[in-house]
Structure formats: structure tokens, C-alpha cells
Amino acid sequence: MEILNLEGTEDTPKIILDKGNGIFEISGRSLPEDSAEFYQPILDWIESYGESPNSGTDFVFKLEYFNTASSKLILDVLSALEDIDGVTIQWYFHEDDEDMEEAGEEFSELVEIPFEFKTY
């Protein structure tokens, strides 16, 4: 399966989705102009990954900031992962960033996937 690797910018997060090495990570800032368009390849990738997933998937979110529009798409990403067995979300937040921690908690209530909260 192809590796999806997007370098991060000021407005878009860094994406690495690598089935072979078991790396699944979204990190950085997410306020793309058209978030739906930006996240579409990621959602597509997850969908095809879902057809033959690894036995365990640690999906890492290490976000500094995301806007409201992105939050909806992150939820879409999470919902897509919900259908795959063996997914765990690693939710990283800066130790000072209460908002991000709470956002992670809110997300964990919206989907039924185990969340692990970690600081960096």
C-alpha cells in the first residue's frame, strides 16, 4: 500500500500514513482554506486501509491547533477509523494546552475508539 506523506505548512498539518512501518500520524496546525478538500485523500487512504488493516493501529494525533472546519474533518477521520478493528488513538497535547486536552476528551466521547492521552 502506498505511503501517504504530506509535509506540514503554516496552515496544514504534517501527515504520515505508512502501513508497512505502522506509522500513522497527523501533527501540527490544521486550518486549511478548504479543509474538506485537504482531508479527502486522508479519508480515502483510511478507507482502503480498512480493507486490510494491520492487526494493531496506533493512530497519533499531535496537533497544536485546528479550526472549527478541521474539527469536523478530524471527527470524520475518527469515524472512519472507528470501523477498523484494533485502532487506538494516541492523543498528544502540550502539557500547558488544556484546550487540546479537553478537545481530545470531547472527541473520545463522540467515537467509540480507545484514546490514550499523552503530553509532549
Partner: protein
Amino acid sequence: MSEEILKALTQLFAIITRQDGGVTEKEREFVISFFKQDLDQDTVSEYVALYDKFSGYSKEKEEGAEKKERKSKLTSVRDSVKVLGLCKKINKTLVQKQKFVVLIKILELVGSDKKFTAQRMEIINTISTVFNIVKDEYKLIESFVLKDNVEEINFDDILLVNSKPHEEVIASNDKQAQEDDTDEVSLTKHFHSNIDGNLIFLRIRSVDMYFLKYLGDDEIVMNGFIMLKNRVYLFSHGSTIKTPRGSALYYSDLIINFNEELKTTKISFNADIQELRFPNGAIGLRGVKISEGTGKLIGIMGASGAGKTTLLNVLAGIDKPTLGSIKINGYDTNTQKERIHGVIGYVSQDDLLIEELTVYQNLYYNAKLCFADASEEEIDKRVMEVLTNLGLDQRKDLRVGGVLDKTISGGQRKRLNIALELIREPAVMFVDEPTSGLSSRDSENVIDLLKELSLKGKLIFVVIHQPSSDIYKMFDKMYIMDTGGYPVFYGNPIEAVTYFKRITNQVDSFRGQCETCGNVNPEQIFNIIEAQVVDEYGQLTNKRKITPTQWNGLYKENFNIETVEDIKEEPPVTLNIPNKLKQTVIFTVRDTLSKLSNKQYLLINLLEAPLLAVILAFIIKYRTSNGGTEYVFRFNENLPAFLMMSIVVALFMGLSVSAEEIIKDRKILKRESFLNLSWNSYLCSKIIILFVMSAIQTLMFVIVGHLILEIKDMTFSFWLVLFSISCMSNMIGLNISSAFNSAITVYILIPLLLIPQMILSGLLFSFDKLNNLISTRGTVPIVADMMASRWAFEAMAVHQFKDNTFEELYFDLEKIESQADFKASYMAKELNKKRQFIFENYQDENDSVQRIIKKDLRILAKELDNESFKEGIEDLDLSTALTIEGYNKEINTQLETYFEAYRKHYQGIYNQTVDKRDERVYKLENNPDYDYKLNDYKNKYFNQSLADLVTNATVKERIIEYRGEIIQQIDPVFNDPDKPSHLFDYRTHFYSPQKHFLGFYFDTYNFNVTVIWLMTFVFYITLYYEVLGKSLQSFGKIKLFKKKATPKK
């Protein structure tokens, strides 16, 4: 709204408003006013507190310093996710329509202080995506709610109401379009009304909802409330908007502007019924005038017995007004039926469903009959579309079921009834009490559906009884009638309430609906109309305060109905009826399917025949042979009775299976009468099915019966007779079924039809021994000739005797034998006796003796004339010799010798033939090629009892004289018919081996079967022209006339 949702909303409001500088006073006020709409004072403060907490309202005031910092900050990720969570929660409970309301509320909230910052708008945008609202619709809603400059709102789904003349707006739009060729063409729709500023209407296409807001300085009242400026209101069914100067604006008048389809269908409906008289002379309707155009939903209300259904029937063209006319697009519904063919749809109060078929099949075959050119897929698509629209798609494979074994609910039945009319999309529909017997939810669904149709351009009339407020308000107009067919109101439904209140000087008369809940109470109207006078003791009297005539007078004063201009084009029709052959096929398939699905019916009909055969044959299987105990067919004395009973069974089965056919379908025929389908095709389909059924039934009967009774070689020929008779019986059944209106009447009639058939079948009572008025010796009486049973019995009896494997070898010889024997032993003697009597008395002057002589001479002349053996009288001129004047001794002697020769001649023939027969028997018995034994054959194929019957073996007088003719009583089956008196003379004695018609002789079996089919054909003609039904009707009219005439004396 549940507490949970309200909390979620409060939080949503709070999160949005706290972005970018926090809550302003105006925004907070908006939220409070929102709470106030739904909540009581205490709860409002509770929710306001909640709102303050989430939005940080009070905190902000204290922490003013922090405020500036916040301003530049981005929306916190926590808020973003929180919004998502709240929206998800809302998604789970609210339907799409409610979500639109929420979205509009949120937009209004932001709009209340015009702080449209990027972050707030982003959140709202995200909310709309989570709510699954299409982007274009969101944009439309956003600009509708937020913009207060009319020019900026330029969408297809916006309607502007202002004081600009309509023509001007259109013209300027056109001009604009020509000038700049850009996208800036005005898309909005326009409606003229004399108001300040603009009323802006928004349509949300996906959920079919309407909102409005007002930008202007007038006091505009919607449903009794004053509209606030720039506030968005839901524009619900039946809403009315009152403007200070212009006339009231009604829901339907405004909504219609959004509808593109309406422009393509044009209908004008003008009814002017001056009077309708019932057949008994009573007046059913007086001075009804209705004028409507495209796309209206008209309600007809009235006290029971006021003539609502009568009016509907007249409007639909089922009944003809005594005076007046109904015109659709200028075509009279009564006199120019063919021009508006297929335009009218009528849904009666009764179920018009085929109960044995599934929901899908009901619609499918109906569609097949309406659209000749549509392919299977198209029809399937259409049916499924209608089913889905009516919410019946889940039920499509359920059998409709009858009143007693219901499989689908009353509401579903009603909807299916409407669907049957809907599928062909008639332009004008009449619906009789679609809500009677339905739950309030089902009622609303049904009316909703009708409303939707009217919005698509159909003109729909609905008789409605006790509508709920919501249903009542959905109507565009109400036609209210009072007892005796007097119209008392015609106009907007809500106006009706105020009209009647005003007339009776009630308080509050300008308010049609409840100010707080918007409810209308249509009951009020009838309370006012039918209000009774109270006597001095406070008891209600039977007298009405205002009589129907007075109400009608007021109606005439207050209402001036403007006639809609007749549209000068053919009304739109989608109907395309298949040709007659195709119709027959469709009818047949439909009917067959419905019969196949009725297991009980099928089982009884298939088992009936073999069961009867077993019972009958078993009981009469009479075992007697000379000394033996074995059953021998030859000696079964019951064979004639069995044949006769077979005929009765065939008649009975044929009648009972067909008698209910048309009665059962009458409802469906009524519905389909609007389609103008072929009656012939319908009848043919019935006939095909019934004949097939008859064929199967009689075949089973014959096979089983013949197996048990060991009747050989007669299976096909007996079956053909029984099948023919059963078919004829089917046809009689259809005739009475089409003429009478209840199944019970029909079943009572069955014995009346069957018993004469039994009496006059020729077996139970000999035709010679009937009442003298009926009986004619030597020929079958005419009344019996009209009975199919007599033809059938004769055919079977003669055929069995003549053509059974035993007799067929000797019949020709035995016939000669019998004829020669009769002439030698009886005829010669009888004639000679006459000669002698004449000779002795021909000179007697006595009048009575002279008469006898004359008669005897005539008989002699006739017999001799017909006689082929003339040896010795060749030179005798019979016409002169055999008269009193011409008779003399010489002639007498000549005759005497002749008769002796005659006797000898026939005796000789007889002896010869007997020898011939013996020779034939001998040859057959001694031919090694055949295994022929005379007695075995006779035992197997020949029946003594039947032979005795057809040879009339038991008769005492073998020769009689009747009305100047000598009649042979014995051996009718060997006696060929006398010389026919004219071409059409078919009449013979019973059991004659041959029949004459048109100069030819036919075998009795073939001839009789043909006669039965001829009868069947005649009955088809009477059925086709409904002769029986029509004569019954005219019979009924005579009676009525007499009744009316008697009181005059």
C-alpha cells in the same frame, strides 16, 4: 422541544456568541426572547443563567482586560469539538426540517448585532455541514437571514412581495438581462402587494419549507401576530398575512409563485349548478357556483346530509345537474366527455381495491391500463415512485386484504386508493372523505399528500368532515354547505370563521385563529350555522336561529364569485389507454392473479366437481345383473338420472362461480369508468377465466364420474356437452351479476333459474305429459326448447345410445328395422282402419261424422303423399280421390289391396334387415381378427335403461293421432324427423336421431351442442348491452312514478 435539545441549543448559542469579543447585549436579548417563545418565566431565567455561564457573559464584564486579548485569539479547539458534539446530539433527535429552523435561529442570533466575524461564520458553516445541509442551500439561507438589502438577495428560491407593479419588475429584469449579459440577472420571484418595503419569502427546496421576513415600516400581521422587522418567521400551511392597505395574502397564493410546474399545466374549472333534483323530486343542490384555476386544494364541508358528496359527484361529472353545467377548460363534463377524457380523477369513500392482490399489483395493473406505450421498467418505476411518495413502498408485497382479514392499515388503504388515481396524474381530482376512519396522523399524511399534489398544479376537491386545525388550514379554499344543498360560504378557510362570527356579531370576530397557538376551530363554524333558538326555560328548541335559506341569502349578498376565464386549450392528459386486445390480456392476468391468490376460492372450485362426481356416481352405482353380483354397466338403471344430474351440476357450478363476478368488481368498475376502458375487453377477460374454470371443473367431473360408473368412450363427448352447458350457465350468471346489485339477490335467483331447467329437461317429466297449454304431441314444446338442459340431455342420451361402441355397428340396420316394423305392424293397421271407417260412413249426412271422415281423408292423403312405397296407387290422384266427393267403392278396393301390399312390403324389409343384422353379428363373432363377443360388448357399452328411454319402450299407445296427424310414439331415436314445413323448421320429437335446419339434416349431438353455444352467444349480447340491468331499471322507474302519483288522489 426536549430539555436535552434546548440545553444543546443554549450551549451552541453561547459558544458562537463568545467568539470574537464575546456576547453583546443585543445578542443576549435575542437569546432571551428565543427562550421566551417556548418557556415559562422561571425556566427562562434558568436557561438564561445557563447561557450566561457558557458564554461567559457576566465574567466578561469583570474581566474587561482579558477581552481585548480574546478578540485576536482563534476559536479554541475545545469549542470546536464541543460544537461538533452538540450538533451530533441534535442530529440524533431532530428531523431535517427542525435543523433548518435551528440553523436559521443561529444565523439570526449572529445577525442580531451584525457581528459577522470569520470565526463565527466558520462555526455556523461547520454546523450546517454536520447537519448535512447542502452548501447552496446554506448560502441561500445565510444571505436570506443576514442581508437586509433586498438587492443583495438574489436567488431562485426567493420571493419578494412589494408595491412595485409586477409588470414593471418583469420588464426591468428583462432589460437587465439584455443589457449586461452577466450573472447579475435578477432571479428572485415577484408578487405585487400594496405594502411599504419588502416581504421576503424563502423556500428551502429540499424539505419544502417556507420562511419569511419583513423589511419595511408597515404593521404586517401574520396569523394574528404583528411581525417584527427583520425577524425570520416560519411560513406554515394556511398562514394568512394581513397588510394595512392591501388585501390579505394567503399561503397558497404566495407559494404558487415558487412553482414552476404550474406554468405548464393550465386548468380552468367553472361549475354553475343552478339546481340538482334527485329522481324522487327533492332538490339536492341549489345555486352552486364554483370557479377555480390550477393548483388549488378546495375543501367541501357541511352538516351531514347537506349534499357534500352529491356536490362532489356532480362536479366530477358522475351525476348530471338538472340545470347548469360544469366546464373544464371550456369543455362541458357531461356533454363533451370525450374531450376531457382522463382529466378527472375520483377517489370515492369506499375502498376500490382488489383485495386479493398485493399493494404493488393493484397499482401495477392499474398503471398498465393507463399507459399503453410504457415499457415494463417505466411502469415499474412509476409504481415504485408513487408507492414511495405515499410511504407504501415497505408494504408493496402485502396482500390488500378484505374488511375482515386486514393486512394493511386503514390509512394505508386510503393512501393506496389515492395512489390508484394518482398514478395517472389526472389534472382535476375529487376525493370523498379521505380522512374518515383514519387516525389524526394518517389523516394529516393524506391531506399533506393532496396538498403537495395541488402545489404541483392539480386542482383538488376534497369532501372533509371534522378536520383538525392543521388539516383545515391546509386548504386553499373552503366551500361550506348547509342542509338542503344551500351554499353558505366560499373562500379562505380562516376567513370562514371570522365571517360567521361577524355575521352573528360575536366578540373577537376579526380573529380566525387562536393568537397564541394559531389553532383554528372549524367546529365553531357549524356551531354558529346550526345554532338553535333557546326557549324561555333555557332549553334548546329544534328551531334554528338562522335557517339554511337565510344563510344562503347572506351568502348571496356577501359573495360574488368571479368566473375564472376559460383556458382555451385541451386539458393536460397523460392517459394512454391500450387497445382492446391488450386490455383483455391485462384484465385477464389481473383477475387470474387475484383468483389464484385466494386459496379458499381456488380449492373449493377445484374440489367441488370431483367431489360431487364421487358422491353422485358412488351412490347410484347400482349393482344388478342377471343373477350376478358384479356391477354391469348395461344394467345400471340410473344412467339417465346420472346424465341429468351431470347437467344440473354443470349448470349449478357455472352459475355459482360466475354470479358474483361483476358485483364484486362493481367498485373497481366505477373507478375505472373514468378511464373509459372497454366493457367488451372486461367481459372477455371474465369469460376467458370462467370458461377455463368451467372446462377444468366439468372435465374433472366427467373423468371421475365415468371412472366410477364405468362409462366408456364417452369422456370427450359428454365433457363437451357439460362444458358447453357450464359456459352458457356462466353467461347467465354474468348477466344477473351485472344486473343486480347484491350477491344475495343473485343467489336467491339461482334456484329460479335452475329449477325450470330441471323440470323441462325432458327426463323428469315427459314432454307428452305436460300441461295442455304447453305440450305439443310429437314435438318438443317451445318452452322446453328454450332450456339448455333439454338440448344437453337429448344430446347426451342420443349420443350415448347411437354412438356407443356396441350400438354404432348396428344402428343403421336397427333404424331401418324399426321403421319397417312400425309401418308393417302399426301404420298399415291404423291406415286400413281409417279406410274402413271412411268406406262405411262416407255417405252419411251427419255433420259430425262428415267432419271425422274429412279429417281421416286428410290424414290418409298426407301419409300416402309422404310414402315412398306406392305400388298399386301410382295412377291415383290423391288430391281428388281422397275427398268426400271423390271417394268411391273402386278407390276403396284399390286402397285395401294397397295396404295389404304395403304391410307385406315392409314386413319383407324388416325380415331382410333382421337377417342382415344376424349375419353381421355372426361375421364379427367369428372373425379371429376381432375379439368380439356380442354380450360382452353389450354389457360394457350399452345401457338398457337408457335404451328403453330413447326407444320409449314402455309406452302403451305406440301410435296416436294428434291434431290431424298420426304420430309415432315408439322408437323416437330411430324415427327421423318428419318433412320440415319450412326452412327454419328445427322442431322434432324428443330423442330424434337427426335435426333439420335450412334444408340440411344434422346429427342431433352436433346440432344440440351448437344450439347451446348459440344460447351462450345470445346471452353474451344481452350482457354486452346490459339488457337485463336496463330493463330492471326501467321497471324500477315505473314503480316510482306510481308512488308519486298516488298521493295526488
